[in-house]
């Protein structure tokens, strides 16, 4: 039974990474067909760095991801603090509202925002409102629940007397938040922000519906590319992004591990001294 589980696990990991390997291998091939490896070349990578449109798209994606994450994190953290003070039906209602974008399929969220923007456009007699701002609004909207759902448990699990203690020691409520509460909920804020950032950076479905021709992000343009024969420099971009994300994750993991270890060592040293 346990061995079967292990075998399935190994197969699943291979399954998850095969397409990534295919793309990475193709990025070094001189041919255009993903399925056939011709000759080894690095020209895809040099082409990539000369392709200003692709780099602009990447920059657009990063701008939207950074801005929407920052705004959603601030708005969402404040909201979580507010919601944690609510009780009963009101709280249920607001949390229900928070869950709507989580349970609604992306396509419905995208369509509903697209319709509203179109509607607003007709009312304002504008030709097209779609562009940077609609994209930013959409991203903030789907990022907000991630922040709130990550911060809320931290707030509810926080020792309520910590805030009282800060007030007791002379903090105004605002000081108490920035000197105590925020430290307690920081892991939740960071997790929410990270999740928002990756969701935003990779979002295609919602962006696809709310973006105009003026401001396009990378995933949306890749979709347009994949309708035609795709240019292999995208594989190079994919491979680079994979390496960057992998490196980021591994460092984060190592840092986490080290922190934990340091703490355990510290405790051991302390108890050792006391004994």
């Amino acid at each position: 039974m346990r061995n079967l589980s292990k075998i399935i696990t190994v197969i699943v990991f291979i399954f998850l990474y095969i397409p990534i390997i295919v793309l990475a291998v193709a990025s070094f091939s001189s041919g255009t067909d993903l399925a056939v490896f011709k000759e080894f070349t690095l020209s895809r990578y040099s082409e990539l760095f000369r392709d200003t449109t692709l780099l602009t798209l990447l920059r657009n994606s990063v701008i939207i991801a950074v801005l929407s994450t920052a705004i959603a994190t601030i708005l969402g953290t404040a909201a979580a603090v507010g919601i944690s003070r609510m009780k009963g039906r009101l709280r249920k209602l607001v949390m229900g509202m928070t869950n709507i974008p989580m349970t609604n399929p992306d396509i419905v969220t995208g369509v509903s925002l697209a319709l509203m923007f179109a509607f607003t456009g007709t009312v304002l007699k504008l030709n097209s409102v779609l562009g940077f701002w609609t994209l930013l609004i959409a991203h903030i909207t789907f990022n907000l629940p991630y922040v709130i759902l990550n911060v809320m448990p931290r707030l509810t699990n926080m020792n309520p007397f910590l805030t009282d203690a800060a007030l007791d020691l002379g903090c105004t409520p605002v000081q108490a938040f920035f000197k105590v509460t925020i430290h307690e909920i920081m892991p939740g804020i960071i997790a929410g922000a990270l999740m928002s950032f990756t969701m935003s950076l990779d979002d295609f479905v919602i962006s696809y519906f709310v973006t105009g021709s003026g401001f396009v992000t990378l995933p949306v343009e890749i979709y347009n590319y994949t309708k035609k024969p795709i240019h292999p420099k995208l594989y190079a971009l994919f491979t680079l992004m994979f390496i960057v994300i992998l490196a980021l994750m591994v460092t984060m993991n190592l840092l986490q591990g080290r922190n934990k270890k340091a703490r355990i060592h510290g405790i051991a040293a302390r108890t050792g001294k006391e004994a």
Binding site: N159, F161, L162, D164, A165, A166, L167, D168, L169, G170, C171, T172, Q175, A176, K179, V180, H183, E184, G266, I267, R270, T271
Partner: protein, 373 residues
Amino acid sequence: MKKELIKLENLVMEFDGQRVLDNVSLSIENGRFLTLLGPSGCGKTTTLRIIGGFLTPTSGTVLFDGQPINNVPAYKRQINTVFQNYALFPHLDVYDNIAFGLRIAGVKEPEIDRRVSEMLSVVSLNGFENRSVTALSGGQQQRVAIARALINRPKVLLLDEPLGALDLRLRKDMQNELKRIQQEVGITFIYVTHDQEEALSMSDTVVVMDSGRIQQVGTPEDIYNEPANAYVADFIGESNILDGIMKSDFKVNFFGRDFDCLDKGFAPDEPVDVVIRPEDVDIVAPGAGQLTGTVTNVTFKGVHYDTIVNFSGFKWLIQTTDFNAEGSRIGIRLNPDDIHVMHKSEYSGMFGDYSSYSAEYDEIAVAEESEEE
């Protein structure tokens, strides 16, 4: 010196229509060690939180130094709190936790340094400055919490069940420690606990509370020796509580006979509750005392035996160092100062009967010879 520092006037607190405090009035003198004692839900913590400024009473006034402070927020009060489970800031080390209040107040760093090390020696934690508070033992965390509150030189220190999380041994040590610290700094301590022994051994004044009302205020000796009603008598120590009638001053009647006592000022023939502490009863040979009964249960408690004695169907708890076997007949003698007479209250008849003390077979028809002497 002993002037009134805090005055509570007719405090009422309601949560969602539920009355948690019912007309609580209390005067607290400067430099006192005052304990609010009662079971959970009696309103003691609510009272403390109102004094601390974490709750606003539904009605009533809190006076501090003669000034009403109902609308003064917690952070502007010269009052600090040691919280239940300490509420130390986990992201700060011992030093920064203790320095927290001074930093908020904008005290200069050299001064902070001086006062933190002063405080650390008060609570005997020298050398712990840079420890993480999460790595401290319960007793050490307790000391940090006290230091963190006292360093601000408050006029009053509030302590909310501060020893609740400690084991018995440590609790005893910390009781002495707290008393010592209070005498050293000389400020008012308001202490909340449900542990009567803790309250009696540490306090100058004990306030017994139940169902949102103050039942009695007094010194530990007063509370123990002269309980105001059956509730207090039962909550503080063990008590046998009997129905009696006050014949006249210094004369109370129960079990159909008159006893001399030290109480006076009751209406003639007023029905009263009579309290007899289990350790006050003298055991004598059957017939030699004022009452005679049958031992129904004996439990060894280390220092003494808990002996349940049946007098005419009413069972008493008697604590004695002498062993009396189950089934043996004994007599008892009550001296006038062993008998405490209280007015009837809503608690009459609810406490002080040891009939359900243990699983025992009820002896039927024991309404016998309690009259003969």
